[in-house]
Symmetry: C2
Subunit: 359 residues, 2 copies
């Protein structure tokens, strides 16, 4: 099985992907988009994607946003580190990890933006986002600054977007590896986003395991976070790999997840202001934002329904095949059972997490 999987990973790259993501100077025609990218499930970057959007010149000015959204309540996601929907130390067992969701507060936009600007590691990191079509609800006042759909994509895919989401964060907000069941068109308006991408065929390299679900609570008065396990107990199947471990953890992570760290490198693409990434359905992605402290990264993404077709059936078949390389013996004393490399992919019913943190 090991050889068959390695062949699959290589063949997908050799056949239809290349070493770098295709970069198109301007948007493709609907037919070309469908034929060359959606059909083969292949990402592309579009350079001058939305030159006509007023958002490009208006939104980088915080005063514009504050003025237009002065009376608007929005959702802000709060975490102590900037990592939400991420694996962090289990509150009941420090040798294990759990799946932690952000604390969510609804506050007036100007206050929410202050929280983002003031975000600091170890204190509180705020990320303006809510993946419930928030651009067309909470941020409706900004509608005229961009488009309610990507016209050539809607024509290609034969439908309007299912959800349009807005994201405003600083360098600390980071999105853990995951996949979505949508065709995703991701436009950066200010700052930049750095994506690490892996095709769906690499699913075993993500070590998807079930993790106990927890959620941050935030005490506004003290500014302290507590991490509380969900009650009743729930489990979330989630990617185990942190692609950017700290220096201290690096060697241990490589030993725990050799298929990721010793296998083909992920595709890396930085999306700058005015650019658009086509992120195909089912691709694993990890996202970081502009590392410049003085810059907020603002982005908007359009989720279109994917086709649950033969590719999806192939993916489910692939994922159902148990495979892990032999565990490193030096890790055998690790009590972190949820990260045990000898686990097979669980077929426990999943919590649907496709509408959680997404970059």
């Amino acid at each position: 099985m090991e050889e068959a999987l390695h062949t699959l990973w290589d063949e997908v790259r050799d056949l239809s992907l290349s070493t770098a993501i295709d970069c198109l100077p301007t948007p493709p025609t609907p037919l070309r988009f469908l034929r060359h990218y959606v059909l083969p499930n292949k990402p592309c970057l579009i350079a001058a994607a939305v030159p006509h959007w007023p958002a490009l010149s208006l939104w980088p000015s915080n005063s514009y946003l504050r003025s237009v959204l002065s009376d608007t309540d929005v959702s802000v996601h709060l975490t102590p580190s900037g990592k939400a929907d991420a694996l962090v130390s289990h509150p009941g067992d420090p040798s294990a990890v759990c799946f932690a969701s952000a604390a969510v507060r609804t506050v007036a936009f100007p206050e929410a933006l202050d929280l983002v600007v003031a975000s600091k590691e170890g204190k509180a990191v705020a990320y303006l986002q809510q993946q419930n079509d928030c651009f067309r609800s909470e941020y409706g006042a900004l509608a005229a600054d961009c488009e309610e759909e990507i016209p050539w994509a809607s024509e290609a895919l034969g439908c309007a977007p299912e959800a349009v989401n807005l994201w405003i964060g600083n360098r600390l907000s980071e999105t853990w590896f995951h996949k979505d069941h949508y065709e995703n068109l991701y436009v950066v308006i200010a700052g930049e986003k750095r994506f690490l991408l892996l095709p769906p065929t690499d699913v075993h390299r993500m070590y998807v395991r079930d993790y106990q679900a927890a959620r941050y609570r935030y005490c506004q008065d003290s500014g302290d976070f507590t991490l509380e396990l969900e009650d009743p107990t729930a489990y979330v199947p989630w990617c185990s790999v942190d692609p950017c471990p700290s220096f201290e953890e690096e060697q241990r992570e490589i030993k725990k997840f050799p298929l990721y760290f010793n296998g083909p490198k992920p595709f890396e693409v930085t999306v700058k202001a005015g650019e658009m990434l086509y992120l195909p359905s089912m691709w694993f992605h990890h996202v970081q934002q502009s590392q410049d402290d003085s810059v907020l990264t603002i982005a908007i993404n359009y989720w279109y329904d994917m086709q649950f077709d033969i590719k999806y059936a192939y993916f489910n078949f692939l994922q159902s095949i148990p495979y892990s390389p032999p565990a490193d013996p030096s890790l055998s004393k690790n009590k972190d059972s949820s990260l045990d490399e000898s686990d097979i992919i669980s077929d426990r019913p999943s919590i649907d997490t496709s509408c959680n943190e997404d970059g």
Copy 2:
């Protein structure tokens, strides 16, 4: 593995196929064709596909064809039974089978057509076909009667056809289960063709095995066939299943190939004069022609290059996984080693047979 494969077979049907092939009254737009059929790798039948083609009224008249092609040499495929690129008794070992290709002769069209009309089981069955773009070479004199490409398909797929082939045969010409590495648009001009179709995900149900290659020789004077093994010895990976075994062989075939005979039924579609079948790349297909003795079946097919994308990589991965159900004990005395159910799919380099008999 057994459960995972059965789930895959069912899921492909549940998700994107239905119980019957989609039938469209008229051709789809290029976008719709790409989105709803090519992208999900899903067949469809188009009823009034080519109402404007003169071929529909001209070709059913043998006298028209004889007249236009009176001076044209064409390739005729000759077999004793109508089955070419089929598994037949091995000439050196009656307990085994081998892969038999037709004898190919080049004769003047009027004579070739006489051979087709006179085809009789046990005597000689002639099939006018040659999958080398024969319509645009041997049959160039008929070019004005149809189109050199299917315009909406060329626009969707972004290219002209790689090959266009003509087929003229009677009820005896039959095509064994196989797949092609092309997107195939198959137009019936006279008579009808009955396709049995299985998606690529069903590859294990076809029991693809390596068979020794042989070719018929035809002695025109005696009218006798001899089956000669290829020299040097060659092997062809080929589907083992004959979906229409004789009454005497039926029970034995069901025991030998239970995944086929006891699994989901193949899709069945009859393509009548004026209709077009979109046969997606990599689908297994078995083809029979109009059973009416007085009718010749005439068809033309357009092969467009397929994309060797993530679906193809998934297919190769699936095919590389060894799986066969337990062999029926009553067959264990059968010496036919090439049909042994305990064989795994061979990874011996394949002879490319994609340009052989194709319906």
